[in-house]
Amino acid sequence: MAEKTYICRADEIQVGTPFIAKVRSLSIGVFRIGDSFHALLNVCPHRGAPLCEGPQCGTTAPVEGPEFIYHRENEIVRCAWHGWEFDIKSGTALVNPSVRARTFAVTVEAGGIYVTA
């Protein structure tokens, strides 16, 4: 049964430095993107690496020719091992959206971050 767990104060999470919390036996990374918070299971669906210990970053937009548009800054996490890129909000892998990291609902209440897992 999913339950709501207090993680930390909202101001303890900076963009680029996710808070990695233990929730029961789960390792979960909570990310800040601007003023919103998102939680991902800290296990990569590729080979099980600590996904959330990779850099929070942007990526290049798909284009037709040799043009480099760096976008979605801080919305992506690159897995700590082989560098697959995942959308922090949805958990989907950029190269193949059918591959997804597990996501969890995050709520902010009175300055505290809660994850439902």
Binding site: A49, P55, R78, A80, H82
Partner: protein
Amino acid sequence: MFIVDCDCHNYWSSATVLEPYLSGVWKDMFIEGEKTGPVGAFPHGHRPWFHPQDFSRKDVRPKVEADNYLIMKDKHLDKYDIGVAILTGDEPIEASTLANPYYASALVSAYNDYQINEWLPKDSRFMGSIVIAPQDPRLAAAEIRRLGAHPRMAQVLASQGSVRPYGDPFYHPIFEACAEVGLPFAIHLGGHGGINWNAVAPAPTTFFWETHAILHMSAMSHVASMIAHGVFEKWPDLYFVLIECGIAWVPSVLWRLDADYKALRKETPWLKMLPSEYSRRNIRFSTQPLEQPSNVNHLWAILEAMDGENTLLFASDYPHWDYDDVNTLHIPPEWRGKVLGQNALDVYKRIPRPQAAAAA
């Protein structure tokens, strides 16, 4: 299960760790000329492409020199219960890209001494590699003889990037020395750049992922050359180990070599067996990076065709970005005992047997 990791990179935080192991003009050049700084600053003729994300896993972030070992112990050796890890250094094999063979040889000697003094004592699970600068095979052979009797040196190691394919008689002094001291000759991906200008067959590539995916082209040349020049007739007990050079290409190259040799054997009258038979007897391939087809059976059929059960050696490539752990290695489950450890015992004769027997 007894696990041997044939490719475990021991990093440093700065190449200045070599300063105490250099002397005379080489120390002078190292300090005054190169101003060697942090990781990445070790002297080498630079490769034409760059890594867009750094070479290392992002959950491995040493802050001080001692962290390099402590993190490896925690995140790799202890976590996966590695029985023996063969240290493959990192930047030092890039000394093979330098035009000045005397300086290159001084640098690898310094590295080898540093490895013996500062890495091997850290952990009884470590075995070392005698790194050589193959651009002067006589100096390389001297280095092999200098350290060849060390009980914890498991192999002689050169970069895969080279001036010529390794079977060329130019390199034979190296194999003569390997045979004399009883160590395998291994090559590791890298050393593409500087004097090893012919990085891949047509010319240097542009992007890192494009390059990394096809770097095994030079491994194909080395395999063909080592066999064709008769290295394994001259030194029938010599093992040639290819580390991080891919695997799925092996059967196709051996099929082609066998077919062409059958038609044109008169070119190389010193050979007594088919190329694939020399390969099966004398050549071993490290698993990392194992190709990743969407249907794993396609890979397994290929591994079967190269007798992978007996010719593959496990490698993690810790802590590089394409690291493989023991548990997610995509090989047939019934091969695990051999590939993860037992095959390595045939190749690396100095791995202590009791240690292996106790864990097996």
